[in-house]
């Protein structure tokens, strides 16, 4: 069921969506849009910084869309940049996800754990977490004194995401979560 079908179902049943549900749907829409932008920015044409920025934004909003269904304050959720890694750490508790992936809880948790280092790398791309270092949005100064623009930096993370089994697996999972969010998390 996609967002439109979900909204229609709520209307049909006379169900009034709560403000938090509106926030959740809005975060999900933006995560999908960011993910689409990531996929549409061809590596042959676009510098890695732009693609990674879209990827970081998609993963952060995906985590926030899940968080909003619980009780953390909206202010805490919106201000946090660490939703994705936390989401990957606890996703092993999601029974629907286990069924969809055909895994046991222990298997799923173990597999997600192996992906955490890369998830951390994506999360730390957020300029707020980069502590003045490498990030895909703003220039930074290296220890050597060189000042670099993100557009000039190759970001080895991009290669690891597209050319290693863990990287490919993590991207596949993000796509899976983004596409089947309503079924898995709502």
């Amino acid at each position: 069921m996609d967002i439109g079908q979900l909204q229609n179902l709520f209307k049909r049943d006379g169900y009034r969506m709560t403000e938090r549900q509106h926030w959740q749907i809005a975060f999900l829409k933006q995560a999908r849009s960011d993910w689409e932008a990531y996929q549409r920015t061809s590596p042959a044409v676009w510098p890695a910084c732009h693609r990674l920025l879209f990827l970081q934004m998609a993963s952060e909003k995906l985590g926030k869309a899940v968080l909003i269904a619980s009780h953390s304050t909206l202010e805490t959720i919106i201000q946090s940049h660490t939703a994705f890694v936390m989401f990957m750490r606890v996703a092993g508790n999601n029974q629907k996800l286990q069924k969809a992936l055909g895994m046991k809880k222990a298997q799923q948790r173990a597999q997600f754990k192996t992906l955490l280092p890369l998830a951390h790398e994506i999360e730390r791309l957020a300029p707020a977490l980069a502590q003045g270092g490498q990030n895909p949005e703003y220039p930074w100064k290296e220890a050597s004194g060189n000042i670099l623009a993100p557009a000039d930096y190759p970001f080895p993370l991009m290669q690891r995401l597209h050319q290693t089994p863990h990287g490919i697996q993590l991207l596949n999972y993000i796509e899976f979560f983004v596409k089947r969010f309503e079924e898995l998390f709502m």
Binding site: V66, L67, A69, S70, H71, S72, T73, T76, I77, S80, T82, A83, V85, M86, F87, R89, V90, G92, N93, N94, Q95, K96, K105, A106, R109, H120, M186
Partner: protein, 108 residues
């Protein structure tokens, strides 16, 4: 676990499973353990990323665990700050009724 499983047994089964699955978990705090409709857990894990807030995730009920579950992972020092009211719990969560579980308590 059957549908009519009492929430207390369901929560303790879940807590035991969490300890089995996650070797780095130190303690689990069952928050608002007097609630009969949902389970709220704080998992205290030194390996979780350092955060000065509590991010709780929602897991819908399913056949074997027919209660909505909310789980937040926090570091040990964050739990201490929560106890000193320096860090807030998620909305509606209180320290009025909580139970702390250690690995030894549930695996013996």
């Amino acid at each position: 676990m059957s549908q009519n499983h009492h929430i207390g047994n369901a929560a303790e089964d879940l807590i035991k499973e969490q300890f089995e699955l996650e070797p780095s978990l130190e303690q689990i705090v069952w928050i608002d353990s007097d609630k009969t409709t949902e389970i709220r857990l704080l998992e205290i894990n030194p390996e979780t990323p350092p955060l000065e807030s509590v991010l709780a995730f929602y897991f819908p009920p399913y056949e074997e665990l027919p209660y909505a579950t909310h789980i937040a992972e926090i570091r040990p020092e964050v739990w201490q700050k929560i106890l000193r009211h320096e860090i807030s719990l998620p909305e509606g969560w209180t320290l009025d009724n909580y139970k702390i579980y250690s690995r030894e308590m549930v695996t013996v």
